[in-house]
């Protein structure tokens, strides 16, 4: 096996492993990196490959290490890690072309594992680059002496020819709605809101720039302070954390009245591996078969583990559950007995001074507003009486602190209340005409139940930092160094570049990544196919492929038929002889070009020079080893010059 072939294999494996480096355990990526470096050294120093026993030892140790750090040898993440390790180790025992072939197939397989983590446009381009390198190496394996340039050309040709065919297949290949079998628990990565909220959980999420979902409004666009996207609703408080508690709908569906200000919109939700879907308060209609829970959340039976699109209608004006059941009221009032005595005392004071629940809410909001509270991403840590410490000590907090403290105070004051988490606002993309809602738009607020008015949204954050509600996070936080870049008001050109890119990514998501059975059928109908069936698509696909392959075959095989240029030379010579024959100097059947020229030179001394020159050129072109285009052209020129 040649050095350059081994280098090619090394590069292939490096390219397929590299994107995994960020989520592999550090020791695994370092081990793979070291093994690769060692292999490069062995290859270029000409030293032999390590012996079998050493490799066996490393393999066992690596597998053991993976088993220990993952606590299992099954599952997707473990599988990917093992595959990386094995591919690298396989490079250490390259003996036959078969080993090289195994590495190439392994590399191709590893490319696909990268799509578990990223299927963005850069990932697609990187795939093409990787495939090009692998193909060039693959060709070298089967065409040993082929030089680099023709090798790259063949690889590029194969790839370029395959692209249009792939397009046909991609569009027409009948899609099967997966999954075919149960997926392991870790099949999908998740980031986003959780069904538990403790101090710090949201401010951590805020640091992520990743997209939660994208929204395009049909005609009316709500005001920024109306864009409350409802997520998990928290009922239970244990003194530190809020949890959703019982989420199943044993309490029956909600009851909305006096709905107005309807808004229609389409949401493209990124997979977050949780069951809930997001809608503006309060949802009225949705295009998916999902359930509306008693606390106005939308949830589906299965976790959202693929990007989904849904159309929904919400009413911004509403009256929700003005008649709430006893059970719900009790749930919305329960608090842990011990903790936070000072807060309870404060609540009792408000109860004494206020005539009704609305008055208590007002008292609380003005308390937040006037007592010097600060809105910050980096609040100091809180003790065991978290609410007391926050309200009377640190007075620095983020939305989850305010929502949590507010709901605590309300419940202490006997006003039914709950914490709602979700997203607020979003960034408008004027290129694609939609809103991007990122994880950095995560928010927590409160809802209180007022007699006859039902559940009313109260956002205590608005009492401290109204800018957060109206203009987003960067306007509200003073020290924004900790914020993700795009949440920090970047320069205009960068912002527009970013929005352009996001618009492109959105199209990519909709058309390439979101191309499922439904989209496929819709697209076929748009292309003019009547009553789409998969048989029809398969037939069209076969026809399209057949046609394209035939076209390529014609283009490729064209190079095989070159006009025979030697014949041109011979024809010119024979024409010339005929001419001489007419002039009374015919060539004898046995006479070669040179003999003939000598005879003519003797008979017609005038012609001697040019004829002998031509005869020499002719015989060297016809019988010589060197086929020179230049000489051919010169001969043809001279012979036609002599004719005239």
């Amino acid at each position: 096996m040649s050095k350059s072939l081994i280098d090619g294999l090394l590069l292939s494996i490096l390219m397929v492993i590299a994107p995994h480096a960020e989520h592999l355990a550090l020791w695994v990526s370092s081990l793979c990196g070291l093994l690769l470096l060692w292999r490069v050294y062995l290859n270029h120093s000409g030293k032999p490959q390590p012996n079998k026993w050493l490799l066996m030892l490393v393999t066992l140790a690596g597998t053991g290490g993976i088993a220990i750090s993952f606590h299992t040898l099954f599952g997707r993440e473990v599988g990917v890690t093992l595959l990386m390790l094995l591919a690298t180790l396989k490079l250490m025992e390259l003996r036959t072309p078969r080993d090289a072939m195994a590495i190439i197939y392994l590399a191709l397989f590893i490319i696909i594992t990268n799509f578990f983590y990223s299927q963005t446009i850069p990932a697609a381009l990187y795939m093409l680059a990787t495939l090009f390198v692998i193909t060039a190496t693959w060709i070298q394996l089967h065409g040993q002496n082929i030089r680099l340039k023709p090798r790259l050309r063949v690889a590029a040709t194969l790839l370029v020819q395959a692209i249009p065919l792939t397009l046909i297949l991609f569009i027409l290949f009948p899609r099967v709605q997966g999954p075919l079998w149960g997926l392991p628990q870790d099949a999908y990565s998740s980031s986003g809101l959780d069904d538990k909220m403790s101090p710090g959980s949201l401010s951590r999420l805020i640091l992520s720039e990743s997209v939660a979902f994208r929204v395009s409004y049909k005609d009316k666009v709500p005001l920024p302070e109306q864009m409350y996207w409802r997520g998990p609703v928290m009922w239970n408080f244990d003194g530190r954390s809020w949890t959703t508690g019982n989420t199943t709908g044993q309490f029956g569906p909600p009851h909305f009245t006096e709905l107005d200000q309807t808004i229609d919109y389409t949401v493209t939700l990124e997979p977050h591996n949780k069951t809930w879907l997001f809608a503006l308060d309060v949802p009225d209609k949705i295009s998916l078969p999902v359930t509306l829970s008693y606390d106005f959340r939308l949830y589906s039976k299965k976790p959202v583990n693929a990007r989904i699109r849904y159309e929904a209608r919400s009413s911004l004006g509403y009256r929700a559950n003005p008649q709430e059941s006893e059970g719900q009221i009790r749930r919305a009032l329960q608090l842990p007995k011990q903790f936070n005595p000072r807060s309870r005392q404060l609540a009792d004071e408000w109860v004494a001074s206020s005539s009704d629940s609305a008055g208590i809410v007002q008292a609380a909001l003005s308390y937040f507003n006037r007592q010097g509270f600060q809105y910050t991403l980096e609040p100091p840590p809180l003790g065991i009486n978290g609410i007391d410490d926050f309200l009377f000590g640190t007075k620095q907090g983020f939305c989850e602190h305010y929502a949590s403290a507010f709901v605590f105070l309300m419940r202490a004051a006997n006003v039914p209340a709950r914490v709602v988490t979700g997203y607020l606002g979003g960034e408008f993309n004027d290129i694609g005409n939609y809103y991007i809602v990122r994880q950095s738009d995560a928010h927590a607020w409160a809802e209180v139940w007022l007699k006859d008015r039902g559940w009313v949204r109260v956002d205590p954050t608005g009492a401290i930092a109204p800018a957060r509600i109206q203009r987003g996070l960067s306007a509200a936080v003073t020290n924004n160094a900790a914020l993700p870049f795009m949440a920090r008001n970047p320069p205009q050109w960068l912002r527009s570049l970013n929005l352009n890119w996001d618009a492109l990514a959105n199209q990519w998501n909709q058309w390439v990544l979101g191309y499922d059975t439904e989209r496929q059928f819709a697209f076929m109908t748009r292309l003019g196919m009547e009553s789409v069936t998969w048989q029809k698509m398969a037939m069209n696909m076969a026809a399209g492929l057949g046609l394209s392959v035939t076209l390529f075959a014609l283009l490729m095989l064209r190079h095989l038929y070159v006009r025979n240029r030697t014949d041109k030379v011979q024809m010119a010579w024979l024409r010339f002889c005929k001419k001489l024959a007419k002039a009374g100097l015919p060539r004898a059947a046995h006479e070669g070009a040179l003999d003939y020229a000598t005879r003519i030179a003797a008979a017609r001394p005038v012609l001697a020079g040019p004829i002998q020159d031509l005869a020499e050129r002719y015989s060297s072109l016809r019988y010589g080893r060197i086929q020179d285009e230049q000489a051919r052209r010169e001969f043809l020129q001279r012979i036609s010059a002599l004719k005239t």
Binding site: M101, Y105, L108, F109, I111, I112, F115, F116, Q119, A123, A124, M127, L131, T135, W138, I139, L141, H142, G143, Q144, N145, I146, P150, V154, T157, L158, L159, Q161, A162, I163, L165, T166, L169, F170, F173, R175, V176, G178, P179, L180, W181, L183, A306, V512, L513, G514, Y515, D516, V549, F552, A553, M556, L557, H559, L560, Y561, V562, N564, H590, Q627
Partner: protein, 322 residues
Amino acid sequence: MLSNLKNRFRAWALRRQLHDGSTVTLTQRRIYIIPTRQGFALAFVLLLMLLGDINYNLSLGYVLTFLLAMMAVMSMLHAFRNMARLQVRAGHVEPVFATESARFVFHFHNNSRLDRYRINLHDMQGHSTVFDMAALGHSEVILNIPTTRRGWFRAGRVALYTHFPLGLFHAWSYLHFDTRCLVYPKPLGNAPLPPGNIPDGTGKRSMAGDEDFSGLRKYVAGDALPRIAWKVLAREQGLQVKQFSTPLGEELWLDYSAATGGSEEEKLARMARWVLDAEARELRYGLRLPDGDMPANLGAAHRDECLRRIALFNLPLPDSTR
């Protein structure tokens, strides 16, 4: 089952048992294509990938799977193109001594603007050679096949195949040139020349030899090809043989009946040694075989003729139809 299929395929592919003419062009009717083991392995890998794509709903996975599948399909065309339109002609094969390798020569012409890579030429016993060809080039490909016995050695059917570019497809073609190599017996390692130098007695007499051209005579069967006066033939004056004369010296007769040794083969091997030794010592020698004599003479042409007589002695005539 598989070998049965293979045999049936061969019977079909070789249904035209005739030998190929002087130049063969590899057209699509002569080139067969089948996936290799690695091709089937890739199909399996692609199937796994497709299942993964469906199960995990990986759109880019679909793209990769389809790209690879289509590259594989296109590689079939590339494999075909790597062989198509090549022109082959069987070349002259030099005689060898038994146990040496016969060097079968094939002239390949590539009249296209495409480079060809890693074309494998092999016989049915597994002797093979690999070559590349430049665009518009030609090359002389030599297939070495070890010989065992004296006589005519036929290469038989030879085949060409290529796995270029991805090794997924086996594109091949058969060539049926009636190309053969004359195999001389392997000379015995050590065998002293026979003692009997037979003097002529008459003194000076002109004797046909190699030294000076002395005229032409009519061709008789068995005359060495280099002796034929081709120029005369070209003038359409019949098949004539050039005659040379040398002053008569001593003559050494290499007689089959004088050769010691048990078997016929051993005797012939001894005679082959004698011919080589006599030639090396520049003795004039004649050959006396039970089926006829070779008049005494000297020179490379004479030596080759003698070896040829020894090689073909007592063998059935080569039938040119097989």
